[in-house]
Amino acid sequence: MSKSKILKFVICAYVFGILINGCAPKKEAQKQTISVWHWMTDREAAFFELAKRYEAQTGVKVNFELYAPSDAYSQKVRAAAQGINLPDVFGILGEKRDFASFIKAGHILDLTPCMEENSGSWKESFFSKALAINEFREGNSYGVVPGIYGVPIDIMTIQMVYNKNLFKRLGLNPANPPVTFQEFLDIGKKIKQANMQGLVSGWGEVWMIDCLANNYAFNIMGKDKVLATIKGEVPYTDPDWIKVLSLFKDMQDSGVLASGIVTMVNKTAEQLFANDRAVFAFNGSWCVNVYKGMNPDLDYAAILPPKVSDKYPMMIWGGAGSSFMVNARSKNKEAAVKFLMWLTDRDQQAYLAEATNNLPANKNSLTKIPEILAQFAKGMEFATHPSIWGVSEFSAVIEAFDKGIQSIIIGEKTPEQVASEVQKIKERELAKRR
């Protein structure tokens, strides 16, 4: 290429560049605009529709901006927080501990006064468990002033589902799902004989292992002992914890776990279950939408994980699915809060629930939801969530625990070994904090 050609190209490119820069949208001066950053790809269309309705009703423009995937969204929010550049409304993906840090750093508006207005009318419209995830109680271990700091826009639960067609193929009655753990294991033996795949779940993404293990922990030893363990008062080498860990060994030995589950991402698990390739799945209520998209004819139902003991109730994780917070430094604080009130109102929640097959956060919107979603909704009775316990376990301990379960499943370690390793890490972390 000759020199002049290159030169011409360079000049054209830079002129183009200036043009593009100049054409960047100028700030929407006059009309009041609320900017909302979200990561929910699946709801973008529904959000746009709601924004249109809100503008028609109130004249206030709402700008929904999608930043996906959720990892990148998280990074963007954190970078913007550092640069004091957050939008009016956004969400925080991560643990309660991070939520607490954002609040303490002054980024989040305390919504308690708005919630308590009109004798708490806004507050009462939500499922209490959904709101609890956004709440910090008296004497919480994060050092946050008690209050409600976020608004849930949907709820979800994580339960077990089973494929009715495959049940029939195994000679089981699809109307009689397993209720006890032993029944579950027995089905596992049948699955192994029939050379089928049993339970699929995203256990490559360790938090899902944590969820099920935690559910069984609540069932075996009860909430108080679990919380006491987190606080450091009960060691992980306690026989009850070893029992929890052994459950995974039992599941693996009985053949009820699908092969490859330890490195499975949840999306793969969903795809397997949706295509009639797995008998069970451990997944959240969002799966209804996913399965529908991949296989609308899938015949399945939701159940609680089969219980091990009758002493304490079986608990599942559930509560707010996605929540929005208001930027405390925003210039449109009041308008943003008003918008969120509208968004979580009965009609808008019903629309969202229908449009995206998710459970609404507003108690009064549970009118027309499909049968399968109703089954998930029933689980809310037994729902709990790490974010509402008021204490958090050290992430090094959680990682060791979950990876330890993976080791148990692949047969590399025994439950006792894992328990003592986890306890060692727990003691090390406790010592650091002293």
Binding site: S74, G94, A258, G260, V262, T263, R277, E399
Partner: protein, 291 residues
């Protein structure tokens, strides 16, 4: 006169140094600062803890395990991947049919997004429905069938091979560029002297390709040690810690446990180790060239 010449020389490196100082050095200094603090990335205040992060890294068994894993993957890349790249480049350097076709095809893996590569290979390697197991059992090797990505014994090697598959296109490209710059006259001169193909290869090709081979080796080590996207897509770092690599650990510190300071310390330690490795490689190659 001398100063004017030296000043002129500085002008050559000025733009690079300017951009580098602003966009690398400044963030680097910040990262060094973070590594000496206990910070979660959100709070406006950090606690100074000196070298505590680094002390913790030295005792972090999982960290060193991930280093070994990365080292293993890199070893496979240095041998398998680069040998493959060189063979293919050499084959395409000669006058054979479909040369141009091959040149384009071999560069497709690097171009493909990791999303596609992760999905396709997961499907091929799947324990129950995968193509690989399907062919193995049909070709008469049913005992080799296994869950390649979740079996602790094969997971890391499988990941390493897929990684090499995705990366060999670069080595291929650079080796080809190198081979193309060997003047044909040298080969002809050797042939006139009565040399056969092997002699040409040994006396002409290899000596002239050594600098290129060193270049590829250094780039391979740097690139492969820092790999992580494919691994997340295929195994998530599991089962247990079998396919865990350093960058995944850094990400876990940043995102999972919100220990930004510790993550920065990990990044710096990692960098120091990579510098040490590259330095050794460089010295080693210099001595090899003198031999």
């Amino acid at each position: 006169m001398r100063t004017k010449s030296t000043l002129e020389n500085y002008v050559f490196v000025l733009p690079a140094v300017l951009i580098f100082s602003i966009f690398y050095i400044v963030p680097f200094i910040w990262v060094c600062r973070y590594s000496l603090h206990d910070w979660d990335g959100i709070m406006p205040i950090m606690t100074y803890i000196g070298l505590a992060n680094f002390k913790e890294i030295i005792q972090d068994k999982i960290w060193w395990g991930s280093m070994l894993n990365a080292g293993y993957i890199t070893l496979i890349a240095l041998t398998f991947q680069n040998a493959l790249a060189f063979l293919l480049a050499w084959a395409c350097d000669r006058e054979i049919r479909l040369k141009n076709f091959y040149r384009v095809i071999f560069f497709i893996p690097p171009v493909l997004s990791e999303v596609v590569v992760g999905l396709v290979w997961q499907w091929i390697l799947d324990g129950n429905y995968g193509l690989l197991n399907h062919w193995l059992s049909h070709l008469g090797f049913p005992n080799l069938v296994r869950n390649w990505l979740s079996d602790p014994q094969t997971a890391l090697t499988t990941v390493a091979i897929v990684h090499s598959w995705k990366g060999f296109g670069w080595g291929f490209l650079i080796f080809l560029a190198g081979l193309q710059t060997i003047p044909r006259e040298l080969y002809e001169a050797a042939r006139v002297d009565g040399a056969n193909a092997w002699y040409c290869f040994r006396k002409v090709t290899i000596p002239l390709m050594i600098p290129v081979a060193v270049l590829v080796a250094i780039l391979t080590v740097l690139g492969t040690m820092q790999a992580f996207v494919l691994i997340i897509a295929m195994t998530g770092g599991g089962p247990a810690y079998h396919t865990q690599v350093p960058v995944l650990r850094i990400l876990a510190s940043m995102r999972g446990s919100s220990r930004f300071g510790y993550a920065c310390a990990q990044g710096l330690s990692f960098g120091l180790i990579l510098i040490a490795i590259s330095f050794i490689q460089y010295r080693f190659s210099k001595r090899a060239r003198q031999v």
